[in-house]
Amino acid sequence: MEQPNLSYITSMSGGDKAFEQKLINIIKLEFPEEKNVYFKNFEAENYKLTAENVHKLKHKISILGLEKSYDVAVDYENSLIDGKTEGRIEFESILQTMTDFLETL
């Protein structure tokens, strides 16, 4: 499975290590919140809102360099917009991979 990395963060930081750490801290704070809202809306079967949550999470997927996972998220978001849950398991395993990676930082 594709693994997260910090390539994007280091490429856009211009070598500013303090900013890199600041950004990681923001992601570590914001990601669990977004994830919780996603699960809450999914449990409530509010797929329109769940699609919006996936949309927002896509940015963090791309920031962590998960290019193929990003495509998975796009497909899943479109499924949810159509009221379907196809792609859920794959998407949620991406969330878990990101969670595990952020814990190492």
Binding site: M12, L23, E30, H55, H59, I63
Partner: protein
Amino acid sequence: MNCIIIDDEATARAIIGQLCTNIPSLKVLEDFPNAMQAIKYLNSNEIDLIFLDIHMPDFTGFDFIDTIKNPPKIILTTSDPNFAIQAFGYDCIVDYLVKPISPERFKKAIDKAEAIKPKPVESKSKQSGQVETSSGNDLYVNIDRRLIKIDIPSIYLVEAKGDYIQVKTEDKNYTVHSTLKKIEEKLPNDLFLKIHRSYIINVDKIIDIEDNSVLIKKDVIPVSRSNRPELMKRLNLL
């Protein structure tokens, strides 16, 4: 260029802010997690450029652009490439950046923005007291540089008064610098009906109808001959 960032995602605001630090001509004055806070800020601050997210809860980036008068240059920042065609419809949008934004692409967008001369700004007096936008059940009106929220179903009457309109609600009346046509576009068709060239009524609030007038709250409102058939069609007649 003085700029602000509007994005509901803290991570995105931090990234755009950092990308701005690499460009000496940019000065980030503020960033906002939602469009409403930014609108208030724009009422009292001159801005050259806005980095604007499209997908935001309640009030989207396009709602925001439709709301502000004389929008400055805007660079859209979004994870969604599907709005590019819609963005072309706005003169103020100078570029469309898809996240994650690379420093190279960001620089290109700034070069574009800098190459465009700013439009002359209308006087502030023209901005006060205007119908701004509706969002769900709410209508925002700009009165004395404050955006005031009005609950749409509570409106029972809108009356044209020269260059102004008076919006009457169950609790309060508001005098707004706008036109009947403009507010008509913002009100839901199923609830509101123009019954005269000077009046729009909330059909649910009608008390009775007599010949060519309706009683709504304590106001007797004339119904023009041309609007009467539509009014009668809307009533649940026995």
